[in-house]
């Protein structure tokens, strides 16, 4: 009787186990980063859609190489590290970037508030690379800042400041950010400048 019931149970489960089809693989991105990769604050996964393909690719390479996301305090970075490595070793990194590029990007609702006027002053230091409208500048390797997850901008500025990002010498552009972030002396300056970035269109 015992044997019979366990065999039956095994059969019932057998058909459930299938393999994920190829078409679904990048859906894993959406699991964390939300529908259309527009970000999910619930698990601190930033909006990816609308990011420049060259910027996405570089960051995935950085995660794969361990030049980003390995500082012990960078919990979210650690979660992304093995994903970057997996995409790199499976040779699907570029396909993932393409997948993100096809998604419908939506401007995220602002979550950060601050002194916008003060932020505008501070942003002058940012504008030379990232553009007066936060539109980014590929020739300077500077991604767009407008219409990103604002809480993520804050997190990354803090990470640059603390040396959780940009401290690895292989991350050349991160190192540049680490230097310039000194113009934002404290958390208030960071939220102010992000509050201003929220106004850019």
């Amino acid at each position: 009787m015992k044997r019979r019931s366990s065999i039956l149970a095994g059969m019932a489960l057998a058909w459930v186990v299938g393999s994920a089809s190829a078409g679904n693989d990048f859906d894993y991105c959406l699991l964390c980063h939300g529908a259309n990769a527009n970000g999910n604050y619930g698990i601190r996964a930033p909006k990816l859609s609308g990011m420049e393909p060259w910027y996405l690719a570089r960051q995935l390479e950085n995660f794969a190489a361990g030049s980003r996301g390995t500082a012990s305090e960078d919990g979210s970075g650690h979660e992304m590290g093995p994903v970057g490595l997996r995409l790199k070793t499976e040779g699907t990194l570029d396909a993932a970037v393409q997948f993100i590029g096809k998604l419908e990007s939506k401007r995220p609702a602002p979550t950060v508030s601050g002194d916008v006027a003060h932020g505008r002053e501070l942003y002058k230091n940012c504008a030379s690379c990232h553009g007066t409208k936060g539109e980014g500048n590929a020739s300077l390797n500077s991604p767009a800042l407008a219409a990103r997850s604002d809480w993520y901008l804050v997190t990354q500025l803090v990470n640059f400041q603390k040396g959780l990002r940009g401290a690895d010498e292989r991350d050349t552009y991160g190192a540049q950010m680490r230097a310039i972030v000194a113009t934002l002396p404290d958390e208030k300056a960071i939220t102010d400048v992000v509050a201003y970035i929220n106004t850019l269109k």
Partner: protein, 522 residues
């Protein structure tokens, strides 16, 4: 002459309980307290005409709702994002996939019915009646689960130089010490209530029994701590009591009552062959209603019904329903497009996600049984926190031990950051503090970092009093025809019984609405 608790005293105590119950009933009758929701499975009415129900997630709550509703004329479809049903009820055996973001693994245990690992729930207390009822109804065979084994080890660097001691020694030597200390220090004249001088002798007697003190109220050791040698051709020889000051140095005192808590005390049970026999039982009934690999992207609720958009094989698919029962973890729901009211959806990100972590190792010999350990848990004040020994397959050659199960969010994160191989390495290093030859028995292992598992990205929702007060009612209350479910919407997160309670709560509400609309057959 010993003073005993008199019958009058007893009646007084019983009266006090009766009094509060009476007061409770009266308060309820006056409408001061909400009526206690029926904890039993709701008796649903059969629909005259089917209503379409979409269940999002084939975990325990979703399967429960699908099973109950589909029997009563509801047209149910279950959409599951993963390649497998069960949610966090997950058992792995030879060849099974562990679908972790970044670190996918395959279980390489030998093909053997006893060599499995329960990655999520692993034990059922005797009072989880709803789950036990389903086990009975769905032919899920149960066996006793050993949760508390006084022969297992307790280990902490802070005591005895890190040398492990038997649990029975920690429990009984510390109790003996506390009992002696109290028996010696409590003076008759100090007792001024709730006990009085008249109770002094009775109290001392209790302490004597509590710690097994000698007639002079000294603790000189007890067989409860185990004998120095079990050679019954010779007289019993007690172990020398362990140093009380060493025992009290350990943070084990914060864990030692674990096996006495409501949900962890004997009698505990486990399904024979793995916890996922529960899932298999439900799937035998509703498997045909479950569609796998369907990841929800968008939910639009409206008065006329709801529309759910999901991705399947790289395409977007739309489905409409009269009711949506949503078991998606709230922290993932926060990233899905929806038109919920802000005051509802703000709750999705309010409750932190759990980061529990487990490792299962296949051992080539059941070496722990040679140490007199049959089932149960050894505890250690290290990241791995516990080692579980299987109660099934006793005296067989191999066994799968649980080699890490941390309740600590930080330890969970620490493990999750390592590669599976390094996680196992760390678990073996720490386990070797308990069993010196631990590593040499390890053949293969699986690691489960729940907050990195696909389609979950978290374990039990980390509710606390303040969050419950602020958010629970809001999240439990349906928005139109949309109900949030799962153990996350119960006062018992992290337990299947909580998941079932959430499903029963939702379907009972649906039933009430249908009855009110007169759509239920008489």
């Amino acid at each position: 002459m010993q003073k005993r608790l008199s019958r009058r005293d007893f009646l007084h105590a019983a009266g006090a309980v009766g009094g509060s119950t009476a007061a409770f009933r009266a308060a309820m009758a006056l409408g001061l307290l909400p009526a206690v929701a029926n904890a039993q499975r709701p008796e649903l009415g059969s629909l005259k005409k089917p209503k379409k129900v979409l269940v999002l997630g084939a975990g325990i709550s979703g399967l429960t709702a699908a099973y109950e509703l589909s029997r009563k004329g509801y047209d149910v479809q279950v959409l599951e994002a993963s390649f497998r049903a069960g949610g966090r009820n997950m058992t792995v055996r030879n060849g099974d996939r562990i679908d972790e973001t970044g670190y996918p693994q395959v279980c390489n245990f030998d093909k053997d019915p006893d060599l499995f690992f329960n990655c999520g729930p692993a034990r059922i207390p005797g009072h989880h009646k709803e789950l036990l009822n389903y086990c009975q109804e769905l032919d899920v065979e149960l066996a006793p689960f050993i949760n508390d084994n006084r022969n297992a080890w307790v280990q902490d660097e802070a005591m005895f130089g890190g040398k492990p001691v038997r649990a029975r020694e920690y429990f009984n030597d510390s109790r003996g010490f506390i009992a002696e200390l109290m028996a010696k220090s409590v003076k008759k004249e100090d007792l001024t209530g709730p006990m009085t001088a008249a109770d002094w002798e009775q109290l001392r007697e209790y302490l004597k029994q509590f710690g097994e003190l000698d007639p002079q109220f000294r603790y000189i050791g007890t067989a409860r701590s185990g004998l120095a040698k079990h050679d019954y051709a010779f007289p019993d020889q007690l172990k020398k009591p362990l140093s009380p000051s060493e025992l009290l140095k350990s943070r084990f005192m914060f864990i030692m009552s674990f096996g006495e808590t409501d949900d962890q005390a004997a009698m505990m049970m486990e399904p024979v062959g793995g916890m996922d026999r529960v899932v298999a039982g439900f799937m035998r009934k509703v498997g045909h209603l479950v569609q796998l690999e369907s990841q929800v992207q968008k939910i639009q609720v409206s008065a006329r019904g709801s529309e759910v958009t999901y991705r399947r094989n790289g395409e977007y698919v739309k489905a409409k329903a009269d009711y949506v029962l949503n078991c998606i973890p709230m922290h993932l729901l926060a990233g899905i497009e929806h038109n919920f009211p802000k005051e509802y959806s703000a709750g999705f990100t309010a409750v932190p996600r759990g980061k529990l972590f487990k490792i299962g190792l296949q051992m080539k010999e059941r070496f722990w049984e040679r140490e007199g350990i049959y089932g149960g848990i050894s505890w250690t004040i290290q990241d791995i926190q516990q080692i579980w020994y299987p109660a099934h397959g006793i005296h067989r050659k191999k066994g799968v031990v649980l080699a890490a199960y941390t309740f600590d969010q930080n330890a969970g994160e620490k493990f999750a950051r390592l590669s599976p191989a390094d996680r196992i390495k760390l678990a073996v290093e720490q386990g070797s503090k308990i069993h010196p030859d631990y590593g040499k028995y390890v053949e293969t292992g699986v690691t489960v970092a729940w907050h990195q598992m696909n389609h979950m990205l978290g374990c039990a929702a980390q509710w606390d009093e303040a969050l419950w007060k602020q958010w629970f009612k809001t999240l439990q209350t349906p928005v139109g025809n949309h109900y949030l479910m799962g153990d996350q919407v119960s006062y018992h997160p992290g337990w299947q019984e909580g998941a079932i309670a959430s499903a029963h709560h939702a379907i009972a509400d649906i039933d009430a609405r249908e009855r009110a609309a007169g759509t239920v057959a008489a």
